[in-house]
Symmetry: C2
Subunit: 402 residues, 2 copies
């Protein structure tokens, strides 16, 4: 038997309105995003953060349009990673609060960002040159920030994005020269974007990284001799996926950040700060629901075959950036919290051994027609999965609790 991950507290003792959700979606398989949970996360973070620190939503975590619309009024900015995401966000946000990060921005994407008035987080000197040329052709003043590849990394992070050679951002040692070029080119310098990692559950490490980020921003600002209007501190707050995972303490993070900002370098005194979060805001609000199509025995083991899997939820099958496959939190949807009666593996309908949503977990007995819930599925789910693989129907998505 292998452990299942922890069910988010909001769902642990709750009867899901399954029939209603499935009717709303039209059928299983589906993702349901509970906006009540997202709203509560934003409110909790707001209360925890020092005043003047904004909350940005990283659209890549979940770009479902109704979710974006609902989030927009509650946050201070949205950060996109492509022209496609930019287009979705322009429908719900004003231009001042958008920023665009990502290596390999194509010319058409840079143009779209300039036209929309979004801040472009420059990833290289070459990208800067292209942005200057495109802005000149358009007769526009581009808003440009510099994405910094920091000389430290976020400890305990699922994906390290700093402290090493990286395709992301400009090495800290070359940032000053680039900011000066932005000024000389007559562009509007918007500040720094400094992202050291993601999916860390280590509260102290997140605070240390934020402290290092504020210090780095101060050092760079002094080198540039100009205060950055905004410093995007990145995010990196993880959520519990696997047995033993414990949530980050955002109140502690907020207190620590407040102390850091109280003693920040003078040159940053008028600077605004923001955290950019995706997964932490929406991840635990999402549930993936798939219906048992077959229940079968093989080699002494029991398999529940459900009507969606890897094609909708790659990450839950352990095939997206994880080295060791572990079980997401799962339950029989109608009986969350009920006593386990058997050990089963939950597999999807794809003809590949990779398609396993839960490996030998203890669950109450489920029959054909029952629905299996995979929790912690609100981020990097539907949009991060190979939906066309093997030609099964696309997953449906609904937003509830708005």
């Amino acid at each position: 038997m292998k452990a299942s991950g922890p069910i988010p507290p909001e769902f642990a003792a709750r009867e899901l309105p399954l029939a209603e959700w499935i009717a709303q979606a039209g059928s299983t398989p589906l993702y349901a995003y509970d906006f009540g949970i997202v709203r509560a996360r934003i409110a909790r973070l707001r209360a925890a953060l020092p005043s003047g620190v904004g909350i940005h939503y990283a659209v890549k975590a979940n770009p479902y349009a109704p979710l974006l619309s609902a989030i927009a009024p509650l946050v201070d900015g949205m950060d996109v990673a492509s022209a496609g995401e930019l287009e979705k966000v322009t429908a719900v946000m004003t231009s001042k609060s958008m920023s665009f990060a990502g290596p390999g921005k194509r010319d058409a994407e840079i143009e779209a960002a300039i036209v929309a008035g979004a801040t472009i987080n420059l990833e290289s000197e070459g990208e800067a040159s292209r942005a200057f040329a495109i802005a000149e052709r358009l007769g526009k003043v581009p808003r440009l920030a510099v994405r910094v590849n920091p000389d430290f990394e976020l400890r305990g992070s699922g994906m390290r994005m700093g402290g090493r050679a990286s395709p992301f951002g400009v090495d800290a040692s070359r940032v000053t020269a680039l900011v000066k070029r932005i000024g000389s080119a007559g562009a509007e310098w918007r500040g720094f974007h400094i992202f050291a990692g993601s999916q860390s559950l280590d509260t102290a490490a997140i605070s240390e990284t934020q402290a290092a980020t504020v210090a780095l921003a101060g050092r760079l600002a002094e080198e540039v001799d100009s205060p950055p209007p905004l410093v995007n501190l990145g995010g990196g707050f993880g959520i519990p996926y696997f047995a033993g995972d414990v949530s980050v303490n955002v109140e502690a993070i907020g207190r620590s950040l407040g102390q850091q900002l109280d003693r920040r370098p003078t040159i940053l005194s008028a600077t605004r700060f923001a955290v950019e979060l995706g997964r932490w805001l929406v991840g635990e609000a999402g549930i993936y629901l798939a219906r048992v199509v077959d229940r079968k025995e093989s080699g002494g083991e029991t398999f529940l075959v459900v009507d969606g899997g890897l094609n909708h939820h790659l990450a839950a099958t352990g095939n997206f950036g994880t080295v060791v496959r572990r079980n997401y939190p799962v339950a029989v949807a109608g009986r969350i919290g009920a006593e386990a009666e058997e050990v089963v593996s939950v597999v999807g309908p794809l003809c590949t051994p990779l398609d396993r949503l839960a490996d030998r977990v203890a669950l109450p007995r489920a029959e054909v027609g029952d629905v299996i819930a995979v929790f912690a599925s609100g981020a990097y789910g539907a949009s991060a999965s190979p939906s066309a693989f093997l030609g099964h129907p696309a997953v449906r998505e609904i937003l509830v609790g708005v």
Copy 2:
């Protein structure tokens, strides 16, 4: 530096008609599938296999419609894994040559298969019951084969699908009872589908598995006391992806299979056999082409950022069923075979460290605007990737050499 995989011989000393392909596709990034290579693979396999052993195409490897149309006249059957794939195949094949395997077939899929006259490879007793009921409701005689979970596995295979508890097929010990139920229900029994693994480069292991498969089919047929019309031997022929990988010897496989069939149990004397291949037929015929958008230095390393990556070609980034990330064969498309001048990493445009197409490979120097080719990309590429992730444009596909 890390090694690049071996460039397929058909491309190793060839100037690609890059401009023509990109014009045909409309832009990069794109997949080009060279049908000349597919045709040659099929012809080579035909010549190698004993007469009477059919060739089936596993659509899941690459369901691109023009490719299916071109393959259809050259093979003896197509095997699908969903109603979606079935629909594509019915457009290009007659019903007799289609089979449908996959756990978790929904009732609507079983119905579609029966209506189309496709053979359903039954994955469980429960699926059989549902098929009987649906056929009765439709007033049709269903064609049913039994997918057998063999009691052996294909050695050296990238994905083992036999020899253990499995969601695929019916354990060998229960097959006889199920075949008898098929007869009693008045359905047409089509035989066995026995699939022990995939992506093996071990020629001897493939031959041993085929021998074991023929023997198992004979044993089961004797238990059933009825000759199976068809035995689908599965596939499992791998292709070289990584440094040191060597192609399988299909001529040796064919000779060995001929010997096995010459001495097969009498009960199989009128049985037809087929191999079901996807990757081996189309994998090496495909190239993924992406254009360099940025060339940047960080921490002493050089990165080529190209306009597509993980969103189009998940497997090449090492995030699809591989534990250790290794490099696919890559080249600067205009200069295949040219001398290496530098060590670079090729990364896609996604804002995640997972998006790396090649890690520290030696290449001739490439500049912004050059095109990078990733070879061995004809199978499990476009359709097996999270195309919506981060909102970048979908990849384009073209078939050439028809």
